[in-house]
Symmetry: C2
Subunit: 244 residues, 2 copies
């Protein structure tokens, strides 16, 4: 936890009272004492600094001073064919830490149906993992998550609403163009990255994406596991956006 995230409903004026893992972290890892300060963030709001005003074995009270500006939302969104539950569990925190504006998890021909029947997709499971990633990365912007059991209506009907004004990129092992090739000089907009299942998209699915303006990007000659590929793509995307 490089930042203690506080939710708006936990604030009373500029005071927050913590009793959970965050309090334990301040007590045991940061070795906080009354009067000391810790870095805080307001969920979907600004970062700031908080002074410990009370601390005992049960609770910690913080007086927060917020910065003027909230951090900008990450400029990369992800449309991801749902991976195996074990892989998805590992991904939540990493996607939040790397910076994902919106995440749409979707079915595809090569996604197994039973992947959807898992508590890894329940908000009660994934929200704490997303918060963990944000606290690691010192961000406050909770990725927006939606889950789609049908790919076709998602790609044909809902992209403009969910991902307005994005440059649409399809990760494609067969593509020769790189992220760098596809992002125009001076590009100041947002990216939508579509990442397929382990077995890849079918020809039908490729067409579906192509008709909605997606262009392919490769990641070199290496075939990566979904979780490695997601981290690699997000990192490369953010690096490319920072350097155009």
């Amino acid at each position: 936890m490089n930042l203690i995230l506080i939710e708006p409903h936990e604030l009373a004026g500029d005071l927050a009272t913590l009793r959970d893992r965050r309090a334990t972290h301040i007590r045991q890892v940061l070795r906080g004492q009354p009067g000391a300060t810790v870095r805080v963030g307001l969920l979907d709001g600004p970062r700031g600094v908080a002074t410990i005003t009370a601390l005992d074995d049960e609770l910690i009270e913080l007086r927060c001073a917020w910065e003027q500006e909230s951090p900008p939302a990450p400029r990369v969104d992800l449309l991801l064919a749902l991976p195996r539950p074990k892989v998805m569990r590992r991904l939540w925190a990493q996607l939040a830490a790397l910076g994902t504006g919106r995440l749409a998890l979707t079915n595809a021909a090569k996604v197994e149906r039973n992947y959807f029947d898992t508590h890894v997709l329940e908000e009660a499971t994934y929200r704490p993992l997303l918060l963990e990633g944000l606290q690691q990365a010192q961000d406050t912007r909770l990725p927006l998550v939606s889950i789609h059991r049908q790919l076709k209506p998602l790609v044909e009907d809902r992209l403009d609403e969910l991902f307005p004004h994005t440059l649409r990129l399809l990760a494609d092992p067969a593509a020769r163009e790189t992220m760098h090739d596809r992002i125009p000089a001076g590009f100041a907009g947002r990216l939508l990255l579509a990442v397929g299942p382990e077995g890849g998209w079918t020809a039908f699915e490729h067409d579906l994406f192509a008709r909605q303006g997606f262009v392919g990007i490769g990641l070199g000659p290496r075939t990566l596991r979904t979780d490695t590929a997601c981290v690699a793509l997000l990192a490369t995307a953010h690096a490319a956006l920072a350097n155009v």
Copy 2:
């Protein structure tokens, strides 16, 4: 397994006999039959195509036809402060899949000593994981691994031998320059990336690296977990090398 890796000692002329997980994979996942072909790679040698010449419940015999050229060694090396065993276990296959020429694992002030007393650092444990990563990525180049219990002699005395002629980059949350900024246009050489422990390098360690010509690179404002940071840095490095 997107490629079946065969070790030189397993070859008799152009024939290889497999009895282990690779045979199971060919039988059960690829549903190989006599006469069918599978993609193969010779460890640290060329890739190729193999024809199944015999197959039963116990073994599979392959007749291999190798390409002329071996894939080039990855152009990125890694000097990594040893992470927690659990994290290191997850990293092996990913580092091999992303492309790591040489990996030096090292102690540092903020590495816990007992991290070295783990079977995750035994070759019998990590070699199969590296092979798994290579087979995923269709590479044949096994990363060279060395383990160093003292940082100072490694950085002061052994870098030229272990990592000759590399551009030396230190991942540093405080650095403003990006990978892209640090790689000269037209650069055709190799990179050495130094990645610190969760708590970062100490000021003494920073000086040690600076005196050996390392320059800092940031990864933006986000602090990442070691495993995420390694994947992100390797991906960004390979993307930057492909685009200079």
